[in-house]
């Protein structure tokens, strides 16, 4: 049989070459191909142009105030020139940190339940649906919910950084659940089986095998969740409020944040409008830089962590 094949092969070869030579694409097909390529490239460019414009605008107008004072001063007692966003940057870090502390354990626990324990039961279906709905809740509604919750407990009109963190957690938790669930599903089932077959309870297999294996992806998901909420404005405007001064206390009083800082600088300008505009743009630049750093970190972290674990 092999012999037959090798005898026949040379006979077929010239035919194949002739077929290929005659198969040059027609003029109209090449034209269509070029047009389609051009359209796709144009679409990509159109998508990228607004991003470039926003970055350019923020850099051009914000860099004027990108000085040391911006990072060392709050707005306390400032009218007109000067002042800074230290209070807002600090508030953003505190509130976002608190949000992460609330959201990551809850979201991860829900994801572990969904992937490791629930199987296809009803509670899992309800949880997944709830997460889907939570993802699409407008952020202002999350803010209203937190506002209502804290008003009920502490009296109407209460504003605090903690309320802001709770509102942001409502936005971040579903993000963490979804990304963690996805990552946990990537951990091969045979690793779980191997762990169980070594004679260890399921929760220990999850803790010692599944979570360490998924850790890089879980970290990336959490960082992206933080990046998602760090720029939220509406709920914070509602429940964390705004102040010109430093406030390190999550539980007590209004706390400024970067997005709300940008908004208030722009919306309630004093007499020297240029100073307020410059501060707003500088705030936008700082916020964008923070988000970009977080996004890059989410990408850069996984290999680093994996390497750390290998060398341990």
């Amino acid at each position: 049989m092999t012999a037959t094949l090798t005898r026949q092969a040379p006979q077929h070869a010239p035919d194949a070459a002739a077929t290929l030579a005659a198969s040059t694409p027609s003029w109209s097909r090449r034209a269509k191909n070029r047009a389609a390529s051009a359209a796709v490239v144009a679409a990509v460019a159109l998508t990228a142009v607004p991003l470039a414009l926003v970055i350019w605008a923020a850099v051009e107008r914000g860099s004027a105030r990108l000085d040391l004072t911006l990072f060392t001063h709050s707005m306390r007692g400032v009218v007109g020139q000067g002042g800074g966003l230290l209070h807002a940057l600090t508030g953003t870090l505190i509130i976002t940190g608190a949000t992460a502390i609330i959201s990551i354990p809850l979201g991860l626990a829900a994801a572990i339940y969904l992937t490791e324990y629930a199987g296809g039961n009803k509670l899992a279906a309800i949880t997944r649906r709830a997460v889907d709905i939570m993802v699409s809740i407008p952020s202002i509604v999350a803010g209203l919910a937190a506002y209502a919750l804290f008003s009920l407990i502490l009296g109407p009109g209460t504003r605090s950084g903690l309320a802001g963190a709770v509102a942001l957690a409502m936005i971040m938790i579903p993000v963490v659940v979804r990304s963690s669930e996805e990552v946990l599903r990537l951990v091969p089932a045979d690793l779980r089986e191997a762990g169980l077959a070594l004679g260890s309870p399921r929760w220990r297999v999850i803790r010692k095998i599944v979570l360490p294996t998924a850790l890089p992806g879980l970290t990336a998901g959490a960082v992206l969740g933080v990046a998602r909420v760090i720029g939220e404005t509406a709920p914070l405007l509602l429940v964390a409020g705004f102040t010109d001064a430093m406030n390190y206390n999550l539980a007590d009083g209004r706390m400024a944040t970067l997005p709300v800082f940008i908004y208030t600088q722009w919306s309630s300008k004093g007499l020297d409008t240029a100073a307020y505009d410059q501060r707003a743009w500088a705030g936008a630049l700082v916020l964008m830089a923070v988000v970009v750093v977080l996004q890059l970190a989410a990408r850069a972290l996984p290999p680093q962590i994996a390497k750390l674990r290998r060398n341990r």
Partner: protein, 310 residues
């Protein structure tokens, strides 16, 4: 961890601290370890025989996936300190039965097993027996090598202890790692890179690492589910030699599609088959491997071995 479960094999083995010398004494021991078949009644193994430690007795076992009966009414004696091979066509339930032996079958949602499977007379399925404890006495090696990627080679061997939260002293851990890797015929190849990830090993090395990991928790029985089917012939040969060697200290049960392999390595062969697709798998015939391959009593066994089906 062995302290909680009586270990019938302890008397026959050198105590742990002297184990590094075990490596040096491998060769002379090999000649003292006759194939377990020579110790067995030439007739099919039956209850009442003097049993080597680690012997298992499977009685009227049926395995279900939900309402689907996958394995029906299997009764089989598995001699201790010997290699028993499960052969048969795809879907005959041999892997399912193997997983039922260490209660891994029930890990699949909806799956359950009925009947009794006894290890040295103790029923693994009686009420109040913790499946987790069963799995620490009856270890398992899977078809696809599955070292834990987030762990080093050393930690993979110690995984059974690490997962359980046990913290062995550094010296004891090093000693255990060396002993298990020597036992799994892997020590020489990895001793200089114990801190590296198990991912860096070849498939055959990974599978031997998984065997080292399985024996590090000191089981009596090692179950292997087609351990060579993802490996090249050279790696397969290494695993086969290892299986023979392991049978000196452990009861080895191996599922294989490779009949030549079953013939080469096993003392006992059990042939499973099913009437047609969708029917439950049943045990057709079991006995000494030499008998099954030379003079099977059932026509179906002969047809399968001769390659007429399956």
């Amino acid at each position: 961890m062995t302290a909680t479960v009586p270990n019938p094999t302890a008397a026959g083995q050198p105590p742990a601290p002297t184990a590094p010398t075990e490596a040096a004494s491998l060769a002379p021991l090999a000649s003292l370890a006759p194939r377990a078949a020579e110790r067995l009644n030439p007739a099919a193994p039956a209850p009442g025989l003097p049993k080597a430690p680690g012997s298992m007795s499977i009685r009227d076992v049926s395995c279900y996936y939900g309402s689907h009966l996958a394995v029906a009414d299997v009764s089989l004696e598995i001699p201790g300190r010997a290699v028993t091979a499960f052969i048969g066509p795809s879907g005959c339930g041999k892997s399912t039965l193997l997983r039922a032996i260490n209660r891994m079958h029930e890990v699949i949602p909806g799956a359950r097993a009925e009947g009794t499977i006894a290890l040295d007379g103790a029923d693994l399925y009686s009420k109040g027996v913790d499946p987790v404890a069963v799995r620490s006495k009856v270890g398992m090696v899977f078809q696809k090598p599955n070292p834990f990627p987030a762990m080093s080679i050393k930690d993979n061997v110690l995984a059974g202890l690490i997962i359980r939260g046990a913290k062995p002293r550094a010296a004891a851990a090093d000693e255990l790692v060396e002993r298990c890797l020597v036992r799994a015929h892997l020590w020489e190849e990895v001793k200089d890179r114990l801190k590296k990830s198990g991912d860096s090993l070849s498939g055959g090395q990974q599978q031997r690492l998984c065997i080292a990991r399985a024996i590090a928790v000191q089981p009596d029985v090692v179950l292997m589910d087609e351990p060579c089917s993802a490996l090249d012939p050279i790696s397969t040969l290494a695993i086969e030699e290892l299986m023979r060697d392991l049978a000196r200290d452990y009861t080895v049960v191996v599922v294989t599609h490779n009949m030549a392999q079953a013939n080469r390595i096993s003392d006992i062969t059990a042939f499973f088959s099913l009437a047609r697709a969708g029917e439950p798998g049943r045990l057709v015939e079991a006995g000494l491997t030499a008998d099954i391959f030379s003079a099977p009593k059932v026509t179906a066994t002969r047809d399968y071995i001769d390659g007429r089906f399956g």
